[in-house]
Amino acid sequence: MTFDSNAFLIIFTGSLIAISCGFLGVFMMLRKMSMTGDAISHAVLPGIVIGYFVSGSQRSLEVIIGAGLLGILATLMIDWLRKKARVQLDASIGITFTLLFAIGIILINLLAYKVDLDQECVLYGEIAYLPIDSWITKSGLNLGPRITWLAGLNFFFVSGFIYLLFKELTLTSFDENFSSVMGIPSKGVNLALMSIVSYTTVSSFESVGAILVVALLVVPPATAFLWTKSLMPLLKLTAGLGISISVLGYYLAYWIDSSIAGMMVTVAGGLFGISVLIHSKKPSWLRGTSSVKEPFGV
């Protein structure tokens, strides 16, 4: 079997995106905010349109900044609706992201003559075109696929963020009040997490699209959480699942000649389904340690 560099690039990029999303997804899940990730991925649309309109390019820094700001706005809006207007969390998520997404669609239509962008290109990405979209410098040097660089940069940021703020993220996810009392800025940590989720969403748009990126945020962490109850193994297993999803998704899509991103998420769903089935049977080695009672002595 010969080495297929296109296949390798697609799987490599897919893994980078799946791992970045999975790492963030673990903390979103532990904060019971998985659906906030969904909301953010849709709410960034007006930011992308405005960024595009300002810069005139789909690949500019303005687009990423615009999307990031809208992601934070969505988070703040959900929080405000829930705490101040006393709307239930699910309802406030539903209100926020549909509203922002609708504004995005109106903006696209209003600016249609200036902006070469449509909803389709945000909602559905296409990772298969990745090898033909190269990053070529002004001097004509070909540095390889642009999306792989984007995914790599994103992976670097996400890993760095989680590495540096690991204890703050863990503590604020587990017990927000306790961290506030100790003086750890839980709101700041939360906003930082939401910004990096927005950034990840935007940088994954072109490859997997806004809808499937949500699956990568939610499904691998949820699957891994069925198998382990400690944080480090949970992160590792999520990363492992991200890689398996990319590999299996690519070859299955290649085999039946279909969408790679679609197949990746189908595989993720399949792995989750299998995990649930195995767990509902509850083999004895999965029931955890037995509780040993010990008398209390001080």
């Binding site: 587990f174 306790f178 506030s180 003086g183 109850k229 955890g288 001080v298």
Partner: protein, 262 residues
Amino acid sequence: MITQVENPILEIHDLTVSYDQNPVLWNVDLSLPAGNLIGILGPNGAGKSTLIKAIMGLITPTSGYVKVFDKPLNDVRARISYVPQRESVDWNFPASVLDVVMMGTYGKLGLFRRPGKKEKDLALKSLEQVGMNGFVNRQISELSGGQQQRVFIARALAQEADLYLMDEPFAGVDMSTETAIFQLLQEMTAAGKTVIVVHHDIHSAMTFFDWMIMLNLHLVASGPKELVMNEEMLRKTYGGKLNLLTRVTDMIRQKDFNPLKS
């Protein structure tokens, strides 16, 4: 019956807290001495949890202010510790007992720094103090309610604070554990720390606390146990639940009353 003190460790001035325009605490004005085991008593809905949340700045008061160690709260956060109600977190969180207790050391570590050997030893010592050293690597989802409560107390101990605020730390904790932890709290106050506990059981409150705060939306009493624990104050705090009150006041009259013997 409100006793004010000189050089208070905690000073609450004219504090009013409201939820949605409905005040749940009115004009609380008190000062507390250092090195005491202080109990907050009151019926359900009296604003006990609200009071300690307002002290820690988790709730913004409508009016009034709180000073801790004679400084604004934000300057002294590292010296304050908190034991929240057990139900306030999701115990399915993927962490071991040791992980949770280590969280107590995070405040002093500061941003970006990771806990090391020193923090781990501190966490293990704290677990030993609450008698949970046999459960160091247990997943927190596999603990009973009382054990979860003890983990939270250990986490607060690991913080090595000077002022501890505990919101019903004995809910679901058995009698012998409660006594053991009360003794631990007494040792801490003897060492100069101040511990404020929201508590429900008047019997054990009489045995262990040095100072009592009685609350029923208004501040009814704040002072040394001997001055505050009487029929009049209890009646003001708990209203007309006389059956219970006469029994309690009878017990107060028996000088050598010990709830653990009966």
